[in-house]
Symmetry: C2
Subunit: 310 residues, 2 copies
């Protein structure tokens, strides 16, 4: 048994994971940031203790913690996190001191990727890249069944691959980053634009109100035959394919796994994507890279984190 | 001792390489394509025999052959090559039958990358990416001191990463590929354009004639203080940095090695590149990825190929 913790901006989820990747117990607490680093550290340790109690007489061999930011597992330090008051926080040491268990840390997108490759959608493969289409695009690269972290633990920032060198400004300081065009946020933004430009389209009908527009709106309107929505989804798919083709031409992984809300569209997203990839991939040999939807959902972050140490 | 063969469009170079990477003998023959696949296979085997004779009483443990195209080492087959009449050619089997030596095959850019990581500019590192700035941009990815080939041997096509999704059409079928902006060919093309647009610049003086313009022209004119050339080099460097930043944000390798003629500019290219990378890299932690110029020159293709089997 292992403990996996997934630190998110809203909740901290924790669970007890069997060595075969089965999540046998899951719980969560709200992410409270007002008590700063100390408060969060205490909450994380309390969650670990809850999981450990649940293990009963089973041995817990260690703890893994995924954070939405940059964690250096070698040093045991969370360098920085988005929206969470960790900065050069010695998370591993703290948790080990309080719990007596070994602790490994890492990025939450890496955790999800590891879980999908070991136990989820890509479990027959050893080299895979996961893209989580959400607010931004999170990325995780698995090579030889292990997280590829690069030289200072910051590999896999696939959302910050420029695809339009003269495009929109990104918060990262560059222009035209992949996530500005292919994240759920990007799809929502474009849907709102289209809804304003084409009040006659079914987009408004589907969303009911402007405030309820989300990344699903355009897919639903497209499924209902709306021409504006179909064009919107076509453009979104082209952008997503552009980043995916870059990844295939660079790494040619066995699989690319799509996670996050948008990926729940399943084959209606994946089938057109595969078509573009088949048409545009560099190798005349074709590509053997499989495009897959993630299957573990939000549990992937807990399950993958539990295996950070292996 | 090993034999390394580097099959190029103009020459086939071969050499005898010690286990420590030292090239102790080197020779070459012109690449003759008029006799088709059979003629080339005979020439390659003859070159292997020349190298083997040179080894004298030393044992030759195997042969490695790099080709400018897609070689599947597992199958021993050259799938396809640019400008060379190999197509689904069972190169390894042929060479082994003729020479009695084991034979491994691979991509020439992968060979160069492997040589630079094992014995050249990046020998203190284990994870590195090499970009060869030439007619196009060749790429090789080394992970854990070995070539990373991806699922069907076609990883590392870094020149065909899109950086302008709405940019110029590339021969690969996509738009705005990195090599259209940052190869030696791209720099030469832009130099010719600038020379026509600015007849007053020092570009013409440096090149003497329009026909003699090459990738070095703009660097030389910029060094002589020519404003047009300085702007040209700045733009070229920005484009090169764009691809390099993508690679760092994705893989965060220990080093990125630049090879090919343009890289001979050394620090006058590398120093401004490092500045852009430092400024724009995603990680707030900064980057530890070193930008290096290749040091083995054309020998890298022979030396690296010799180690394909390891």
């Amino acid at each position: 048994m292992k403990i996996g913790i997934d630190v998110g901006g809203t909740n901290i989820a924790g669970g007890l994971v069997r060595n075969d990747g089965t999540l046998v117990f899951k719980t969560s607490v709200p992410t409270v940031t007002k008590n700063g680093e100390d408060g969060l550290l205490r909450d994380i340790c309390a969650l670990c203790e809850t999981c450990r109690r649940e293990a009963g007489s089973h041995t817990v061999s260690g703890i893994g913690i995924g954070v939405p930011g940059h964690a250096d597992d070698t040093m045991g330090i969370v360098v920085r996190c988005a929206n969470i008051p960790f900065k050069n926080t010695a998370l591993s040491r703290y948790v080990t001191e309080k719990t007596g268990l070994s602790c490994h840390i890492g990025n939450d997108a890496d955790a999800a990727a590891l879980a999908e490759v070991r136990f989820g959608s890509a479990r027959e493969f050893e080299n895979a890249v996961m893209l989580t289409l959400g607010t931004g695009i999170g990325g995780g690269i698995i090579i030889n069944n292990r997280i590829f972290r690069g030289c200072n633990g910051t590999a896999g920032e696939l959302g910050h691959m420029t695809i339009y060198a003269d495009g929109e400004k990104c918060s990262c300081g560059r222009r035209g980053c992949f996530e500005l065009y292919a994240s759920a946020t990007a799809l929502k933004r474009e849907t709102l634009k289209a809804l304003d430009a084409h009040p006659e389209s079914k987009l408004r009908q589907v969303a009911k109100t402007r405030e309820r527009v989300n990344a699903k709106t355009a897919f639903d309107a497209a499924a209902a035959g709306d021409a504006v929505a179909i064009q919107l989804i076509r453009q979104y798919t082209e952008h997503l394919a552009c980043g995916i083709l870059n990844i295939i031409n660079i790494l040619c992984p066995d699989a690319i796994i799509l996670g996050g809300g948008v990926a729940r569209q399943g084959e209606s997203l994946l089938a057109p994507l595969r078509e573009i990839v088949r048409d545009k991939v560099y190798s005349t040999y074709g590509t053997q890279t499989k495009l897959l939807a993630a299957t573990l959902g939000n549990d992937a972050g807990i399950i993958g984190a539990a295996f950070f140490g292996e």
